[in-house]
Amino acid sequence: MFEKTLIPVAYGERPDELRKIGRILKSLGSESICLFHVSDTDSFFGGSDLSWLMLLKEALEEIGLNVRIWTGSDHIASAIAEAALLEGADEIYLKAKRRWQLRSILLGSVSRDLLRLADTPVFVHKIRPLLPGEGEGTITRDDLIVLYATDFDEASNRPLPYVMQFKGGWCHILHIRGRRADPGSEKRKSSEVKEKLSSLEEELRPYYGRVTSEERIGNAANEVLFVSDQIKADVIILGRRRPAFLSSPMGDTAERIVSGSKASIFLVP
């Protein structure tokens, strides 16, 4: 499911950093990588010399990944989303921290646009999980803590196959909802949710060392961020809902989680 990953890159990225990323992606099941560069004609660095891209390619090939290089132009986020579709990528990988920042992608609006536009799952790599060589050793698949946020609607059910694919040490299922308007409906809803959560736990048990679940009432973004910090999740998996017209200016749930989380996000459109 994660066989082919598209990584948008920009001038200035370092091969050794990319190698670390490659290792993480390989451990998640990636076999081939598509390095995608959107050339910005106005940029000081924009030029015809793309030898730096070849260096990145070689760095990834060294660790046993198949690498292809693509370049494109036009609106950056749209170009990345389109390339991922044409290339048949299983996911788009975005690194969102410190030195190895995609110069243009981290300007904010591009990554926001990409999260909104992409028809391919987007993996936003934040502080957790640590890259090899960062902090206290590299994370192994068995240590991976996954937080799966769902409200059982269609958008949050779509990530389920990906949750299974991630595998790892611990999967925590978080169900968030609003409170019903009266105690009777609330009680019925709560027992219905508990039932669904326990059958979901059973479904995910073969893929994880431990599966737990929790039901919370409140604001989806706040609760996901709170629980993710509490369990020190490495990856939060959630579905993307088409934002309602009014929610866009204020930022929808996925966007708030992506910007506020320390854990990486796997967002399934």
Binding site: G178, R179, A181, D182, P183, G184, S185, E186, K189
Partner: protein, 500 residues
Amino acid sequence: MNRSYFRKETVFLLSSGIIFLFIIAGVLQPDLLDAAASAIHSGILDNFSWLYLISAFFFLIFVISIALSKYGTIRLGYDAERPQYTFFGWVAMLFAAGMGIGLLFWGVSEPLVHFLTPPPFLEPLSPESAAFAMRYAFFHWGVHPWAIYTVVSLSIAYFSFRRGMPALISSCFYPVLGDRIYGMPGKVVDILAVFATVFGTATSLGFGALQIHSGLTHLYGISSAISVTIGIIVVATAFFMASAILGIEKGVQVLSKINILLAIVLLIFILLLGSTPYILNVFSSALGGYINNVIDLSLQAYPFAGYEWSRDWTVFYWAWWISWSPFVGLFIARISRGRTIREFVMTVLTVPTLFTFIWFSIFGGSALYLELNTGVDLASVAGEDVSLALFVFFEHYPFAGVLSLLAILLLSIFFVTSADSATVVLGSLTAGGNLAVPMYKKAIWGFSLSAVAIILLMTGGLDALQKMAITAAFPFMIVMIILCYTLWIGVSQEEERVSE
């Protein structure tokens, strides 16, 4: 035992305790109470008068939106339920809720006072200020008050009839507070509703007593000392307490119906004996002016000139309606079981409003006719004593003495019926939403209402009544804004309920 009693009766004990302290403070230190109330009142007005304007407009937009949305077809009761009362019976009861001391008190005087003392950008006693006066009288008594009542009554009706919860304001907070509605947060909401009701109703009772007194002084030359006003309140209290405690609700209902009939007779009498075409022209043009300017009027605080005017009138009215909303809201909710949200909102917004417009056109329009066309100086009477204007106005009609007596009778009956209903509502709010209220609670609330009205009249008269209404309404306005949110959550869960 004591602890469990306290837990069960927290709302009653805390709210009656605080109001008791208020009464004691009023008796022992009236100046201190007046100073404290004035400080709070001016703090609210200086900083939040804009919030009253925006909130009232928001409530109007909110209730219209919910009525026109897909949720408009939701029934206030179970799906198979049919309305408890016939449409005409229901509309008649809405009339009853909408009419009261306020219409008699302000019907003649409000247009006259606006005409005499408009905001500084208008020439007093000019045709422009007459048009302005009628437009603002329509505005203050138009759809906004009913939108304010609708927010509360719709929330109570939805959460109690459709969701099976007690008829309390705190029940509507379940979507945000959850089981904490049974704890202190829910109790605080109910206590705020009790405060608003006590001070809102006491304000009306104060108006009523002032006007009955003015009428009696005008007719029979009775002393105008404040002790007579207090005596009127004491006598009226004896009547409504007897009615509430002896449980003669049926008698009160009959009295209430007679009162509406008498008011309509009075209305028709003034219409036919006054300048009918003039009144109808006033109605038509004031309605046009109102419809044409309703958005501007809703949000207009006159910050550059006339700010004081807007604060003294519009903000006072909005606060007064807000303070009445738990009381009227509970009453309207009770009679509206089985109606759909759309039918409920549209009828409540239009029917009583239209009646009020007719009332103001007839009384206010006739008063302006006398002032502008016959040289009668009514405006200066209203400017000096708003409660006297109605009786001086009657002097220009045949059977003036009978009309004045009729008005005093109407005011007295309205006083008794309003206070009686308020006592029952306060009792119910402090008895977990039950209508079977223990007698001692009715007695305590009845005395509290009258005592608060007396204290306010003694400490500062009409001015103190208005100040207290504004102060008590402020926290409840915040409660109402949250009510809109919880109601929206409630109705938006309707689709999911089918699958639950």
